[in-house]
Symmetry: C2
Subunit: 355 residues, 2 copies
Amino acid sequence: MTHPSPRGISRRVVVSTLAALPVLGGALPRTLAQAQTADPLPSWNDGAAKQAIVAFVRDTTDSASPKFVTPEERIAAFDQDGTLWVEHPMYTQVVYCLERVPAVVARTPKLKDVEPFKTVLSGNREAIAKLSMKQLEEILAATLTGMTVDEFNAEARAWIGTAKHPRWDRLYTELTYQPMQEVLHYLRAHDYKTYIVTGGGQDFVRTYAQAAYGIPPEQVVGTAGGTKFSYGKDGRPTLTKDPRLLLNDNNAGKPEGIHLMIGRPPRAAFGNSTGDRQMLEYTTAGEGARLAMLVMHDDASREYAYGPANGLPDAKVGTFTQALYDEAGHKGWTVISMKNDWKEIFPSSVGRAIK
Amino acid sequence: MTHPSPRGISRRVVVSTLAALPVLGGALPRTLAQAQTADPLPSWNDGAAKQAIVAFVRDTTDSASPKFVTPEERIAAFDQDGTLWVEHPMYTQVVYCLERVPAVVARTPKLKDVEPFKTVLSGNREAIAKLSMKQLEEILAATLTGMTVDEFNAEARAWIGTAKHPRWDRLYTELTYQPMQEVLHYLRAHDYKTYIVTGGGQDFVRTYAQAAYGIPPEQVVGTAGGTKFSYGKDGRPTLTKDPRLLLNDNNAGKPEGIHLMIGRPPRAAFGNSTGDRQMLEYTTAGEGARLAMLVMHDDASREYAYGPANGLPDAKVGTFTQALYDEAGHKGWTVISMKNDWKEIFPSSVGRAIK
């Protein structure tokens, strides 16, 4: 399932050898030195995907390498849904918005008999699954805007701290991919700034990104609406979330969002669907070492299998088309097979529960 | 000119004592340890302004202090024009846009006889000074958008690398305020992330912020337009600068821009005009230690003196009104007198030239 990489030799040996040199080991803080001597990616099977990551980090952080990248330029971008955590059967944020509908209706009772709110309140899963994109956007606007930033943050944090995924009965934030957590840590240990670049709501993801991924709010780029500054009754400055869309951070919106929020292309980008295509193209268009990777969901028993690249019908979320698979092949992007490349899918606490 | 601070005792003594403790000194990288034993703000006269900065850094970075702020939360925001560098007689970016007009007209010759381009080409300073805001916006749109991001970056970098301020005959990037450079360094040495939050163009400021202030592109928040992703003739992904305004980063737009780009209020904010008022209000509205400072231009001999707070007429740029001065007094914000608080205005190379 993975593309053979031109960097086929074992890079782990080279990295271990480098780390053993006293001149390097002495100058590095302890955590980084440890990261270099131990296997930085223990949940990855040895293969082209793991080797591509290790080679990229080695090449771009060794000052003697022709592919060396200065620490200021070390930016890595990660899609979230389907790349860092589970996106099936429904994007977590959409679950949140649907579950917020009763609260919205309680505040504005006349919505009770108005579509699409009426259908959501009915709890009829089949009818809910058939809502149009326009109706879904109406629900998103009603549940994500119109309140202050502080109110939204409190509501979203309360929900994400208790809501559980139906299949594993675990908090959504526990269902992050252990191998990708290792990549985040590995890159950060080598002075990469790790960013989430998600089609999901920027403010929503920011409420848990630090706890779930070690990524601070300012390193979350997502679909973003405006806010409106005003003074509350007590004269205190307040920002209210506005339905005006500033950035639709999907497809071409991802490079546009990266430019707005970061100001230059990343050196590495990770995605899993056609929504990430332009981000990977933008990342790899520049000179020097670049890393582009796509997570392929081909593991129905441990997680999910979906999408045309697996010979399966198009999924409602996270479409990995055959065309994207082919583009990855032409351009030397690496496809990560969850089934073959990952020893574990989830952190050990969750892993034990599903075995 | 400065407001008396309740923190009147010498904080330098306390800081030096702390730095002498071996438990601290051993764990810190050399540059930080040096910064703590030496005076971190040598270009500042001892007074309420300097003491407020030192007390803020001490209180928020000493883990035993009730005002301690975790490193992740350490965000400081700096207005640019008039706060970090000279803004008179004209914002540097406006000078850039006016000087780009001939190139724009060369590309589209029919603009030669069209206002406001005709007036700019005439070189008549008085007529140019009388251009309306709407006309100025037309010039900004024509000179800052319509080209690829790469083209814009190359043009802006070439200009900023050669254009000089008329009074000092120095590169604009040399006319940054030495005392504020020291504040940037001092905060960063204590794990603060320093951001520029400017009414100027985000992309423009990003072209020199790293070299001029040590601030990377992703930590520049400014007035921002959209970009449009497309494929060039060679199939290479390209972003083109678009006139669509996403963020007007002035006044209420500053807290809105901070929310968009950073996701939470800063702990410290520095400004110099009514355009920074809402940013300072937003910064100080939260709980815990907060620092809000306003640079007052009251030094006509070494730099400029302007604005109602100095009893002088309203300036065309950087208005520091009496109302803002009064608000600072009521709210405990510190006003920095360039004349009284700063030993030096510019870095030593420039300082010698103007003495």
